[in-house]
């Protein structure tokens, strides 16, 4: 889906819920869809500060992020330590994450087979799936080579 189409969807979403299209929401939306990185509310807030426009409060960032999440425009996943990370979703198909515990890098991947097996596992237990999170943790190629991480690569204990 193209950026302009997604943007239309967003405006439409706001209209549907009789919400206003404000400049703050516009800027937050744009940043969320311009980046190809995962970001936290705080990161996005910092990006806004770097921009030319007037400052946007942290509260508004959080509120808008919720709005976008509810609307299915972005998704949150957590770093594991009390912080939510967002990524845009529309125009960007579903995928899972490989997280490097050495450097924090996040890679995305997708396996149709895993998706299928998940569906199957859920069904056999009577669940109707709405979403899932698969997070593989380990060391990326670069970190696995570093001596200080050699131990972690060898064991699971």
């Amino acid at each position: 889906m193209k950026h302009s189409a997604i943007r239309k969807k967003f405006e439409e979403h706001l209209r549907t819920k009789s919400l206003k299209f404000t400049s703050q929401r516009d800027r937050i939306f744009e940043l969320a869809f311009e980046t190809h990185q995962h970001f936290t509310a705080d990161t996005l807030h910092a990006w806004l500060k770097e921009q030319d426009g007037p400052p946007v409060s942290r509260a508004t960032v959080y509120r808008t992020l919720h709005l976008l999440e509810e609307g299915g425009f972005i998704e949150s996943l957590d770093t594991g330590r009390g912080e939510l990370v967002y990524e845009h979703v529309l125009g960007h198909s579903h995928h899972d994450h490989l997280v490097c515990v050495g450097c924090g890098k996040i890679e995305e991947f997708r396996s149709e087979e895993i998706e299928r097996l998940q569906e199957q596992a859920a069904q056999s237990r009577g669940f109707v799936l709405t979403s899932h999170t698969l997070r593989l943790e380990g060391l990326c190629r670069a970190c696995a080579k570093k001596p200080e991480h050699a131990a972690a690569a060898g064991k699971a204990d």
Copy 2:
């Protein structure tokens, strides 16, 4: 692995790191391994309060939980909303989670095939896996029947 063996391991772990075996640690350890549920630090703290013994501070609960996690006795997974949930691990093989978004129930499951595919996906991207988290979200059989959840089961909106 039997409870007594796990307990020995725990005592040994403490000794190895020249840490003391205190009554607080003992009680926290016991609770973590007695339960078959997932628990938060706060839940465990509440369980301690219900017991006959003297109260144990929240700080100690957190500290001991970290200790147990480091030692590989328990694992944490997050609910998705700023709260860590623990479960014991030794004497309890690896598994993934099915979480009901309707009632919060957590079911465990394991699929060898998914495990294998994960390994494969990681390897092909140069990652050495240390752990993973697979969390399927949806509605359990009971919740899927409830009218207030019917919508969620059908759509992703």
